[in-house]
């Protein structure tokens, strides 16, 4: 097996293990990363929202918000873990594809 394939296999293992990134914070009751609170969270923490923040915060609706399926909010850890792995797979595929394409375009220029 080539080294590249070995590394891809490693990334595959990380993908399957990725729900640890949900379970560990859940286990320790750790919330959102500092400064990454959404509208509701910030509202709850501060009682009000900064004016500029209100205008910008909902600018973009991501198709897989926070590596989860839309409408699956509040589902148990089993469901969110499933969505997390699917998100990881989608992210890896798209990111690797884009990086590969970009690399090929850039490196071709001087060949």
């Amino acid at each position: 097996m080539t080294l590249a394939n070995k590394l891809w296999r490693g990334i595959g293992v990380l993908m399957v293990l990725s729900p640890l990134g949900l379970m560990l914070p859940d286990r320790f009751k750790a919330g959102t990363a500092w400064g990454e609170w959404g509208v509701d969270e910030l509202q709850k923490m501060r009682g009000s929202l900064p004016q500029g923040f209100q205008k910008l915060s909902d600018l973009w609706k991501a198709p897989l918000p926070d590596y989860a399926f839309q409408g699956w909010e509040g589902k148990d850890l089993f469901h969110s873990s499933f969505a997390y792995i699917v998100s990881a797979a989608a992210g890896i595929a798209i990111i690797a594809g884009v990086a590969l394409l970009l690399g090929k375009v850039l490196v071709k220029e001087h060949e």
């Binding site: 990134g21 914070p25 500092w34 400064g35 926070d66 992210g91 990086a99």
Partner: protein, 226 residues
Amino acid sequence: MHIPDGYLSPATCGVFGAVMIPIWMAASKRVTKTLNVRQVPFLAIGAAFSFVVMMFNVPIPGGSTGHAVGGVLVALLLGPWAACIALTVALVIQAFLFGDGGITAIGANCFNIAFVLPFTGYYVHKLISSNSPAGSKRRIIAAGAGAYVGICVAALCAGIEFGLQPLLYHTPNGQALYSPYGLNVAVPAMVLGHLLVIGWVEVLVTALVVQYLQKQDFVFFEGGRS
């Protein structure tokens, strides 16, 4: 460390976008010069690896979480400019597909995570490894040190960006328009968690993979080699 939309003013976002454009252009140029066809798959591997590493949220004291990036590792494998490209790809997809990091904050997030992090880590590694042989222990220690300093300095940058907002952008009566947390709150919040926990996760990830790749006789990036 992924700053969402709304925490940075449009002007701040514009400044970081403007700063990143020449960096991205230089990165493209350097990658064209230094990367060879056989390394292109590793650019994709680096980007995908970094993306999946960032999904491993780790609890940090104070009830929040953080995650490693793996970006210093990519800089050691392919050089800091290639790492900048790989991490930018990951960050842009994270923002658009997963809402992780704001669309308006892409410039700032790329500055912290795709520029400051790999370059700081790369040069710290270079400083410590100096002329030690390719497969040496010293290289692994240097990689760990680069990883630690790289991610902590990147977190410091994010903390400063958050913390400057209430100073620069507020209503006439002093109410913050964007990030409501000043430097005295944002900098320690960002930096401490990374110094205490996340920096060490980054060290572990980087050192383990570097050690593995040494055993596989992987040829690490040497500045200027083409």
